[in-house]
């Protein structure tokens, strides 16, 4: 829905705007309650753990998108949004 889209992009701006510190996975854009829970049970409870996976994949957004879809059942929009979020965060803070 369009409401969801606007909150996602706000989330994106919030995440990309500052160091991620100790933020939860749900702070990542595209990651809601459901996906967050799924990730947490897989051991990805913090945004920085997901960032770790993103970095292991050499910041390849395509591969990361694939991974997120495979492991959490995220749809393409959610996965791409999350990948984009991490990519921009890396561009700003790494």
């Amino acid at each position: 829905s369009s409401g969801n889209m606007s909150t996602t992009s706000q989330k994106h701006r919030d995440f990309v705007g500052e160091p991620m510190g100790d933020k939860a996975v749900t702070a990542l854009s595209g990651i809601g309650e459901t996906l967050g829970k799924k990730l947490a049970t897989d051991g990805f409870d913090k945004a920085y753990v997901v960032l770790g996976q993103f970095l292991l994949l050499r910041k390849d957004t395509e591969m990361f998108t694939e991974w997120l879809k495979d492991t959490t059942g995220a749809n393409s929009r959610q996965a791409v949004s999350c990948a984009q979020c991490l990519k921009e965060w890396c561009d700003a803070f790494l």
């Binding site: 292991l56 050499r58 390849d60 991974w67 495979d70």
Partner: protein, 255 residues
């Protein structure tokens, strides 16, 4: 499948080369002799072999590089982490660390790459059948544009067969958009060079000329036959009673 460790000295130069590539070893200059490859092989790979490196998976990689048919049968899940990474590199993909959380992803990636490699091979064979060598250059250049249009052509005329001569009724402008049907190009018109436009113009004129010649010949034949017939059968009526046109045509109608 050989269980023993092969003697590198017995391997061919290309085999040594592919082994080196598979093990991420930098290759020497292009024209180097076999000895150079052999030295590198012994230095980088020989040691690993004595340290219990399985030569089975090594063979897998080599077969994948030697023939595309074998590549399809290569099973990425059976490779070691190292070999998986090497195989990906051989396909131009620089993989990150292959660990528990990334391994399945890279396996998938490799099998996709292998599939597309096999697919490409198939496509090449099909193309060879479809397009013979005798085909005109011009046509091959325009294949891209024609593909876009042929989609609409087959849409309009499902029974029509595309011919290698490139003579399509639909290439004439007036027929396009017939029956009030909006023409939709699959791809938006891309800017084309003046030579292409010129060629198109010539091509467009070429088709009606051929049709015109055929029609002209048919009409000429009919006229000629009519003339012969009239001269043969109507000599007498013409000379005898040249009073009315009715009598002139009468013999024709009588037969």
């Amino acid at each position: 499948m050989p269980v023993f460790v092969e003697d590198p000295a017995l391997l061919s130069k290309s085999r040594l080369k592919s082994d080196l590539v598979a093990h991420n070893v930098e290759l020497p200059a292009a024209g180097s002799k076999k000895e150079v490859y052999l030295k590198l092989h012994l230095k980088h790979i020989g040691r690993k072999n004595t340290a219990g490196f399985s030569s089975k998976s090594q063979n897998n990689i080599c077969s994948c590089e030697q023939s595309p048919e074998d590549a399809v049968t290569l099973d990425p899940t059976s490779l070691t982490d190292e070999d998986l990474k090497a195989a990906l590199l051989a396909h131009g993909v620089k993989a990150g660390p292959i660990v528990a959380s990334t391994r399945t992803l890279y396996e998938k990636k490799l099998s996709k790459l292998l599939q597309s490699a096999g697919h490409k091979h198939l496509n090449g064979a099909e193309k060879g059948v479809l397009y013979s060598d005798s085909e005109e250059e011009e046509e091959e250049e325009e294949n891209g544009e024609e593909d876009a249009e042929s989609g609409i052509q087959t849409d309009l005329f499902p029974d029509a067969q595309t011919t290698p001569t490139g003579i399509y009724a639909t290439r004439r402008r007036p027929i396009k958009g017939a029956a009030g049907r909006p023409i939709q190009y699959l791809y938006p018109d891309s800017p084309v060079s003046p030579t292409t436009l010129e060629r198109r113009e010539v091509e467009r004129r070429l088709v009606p000329v051929l049709v015109q010649i055929v029609v002209f010949l048919v009409v000429a034949c009919v006229l000629y036959l009519t003339c012969i017939y009239l001269l043969d059968k109507s000599f007498s009526p013409l000379e005898q009673t040249s009073t009315s046109s009715f009598t002139l045509y009468f013999p024709l109608m009588g037969v």
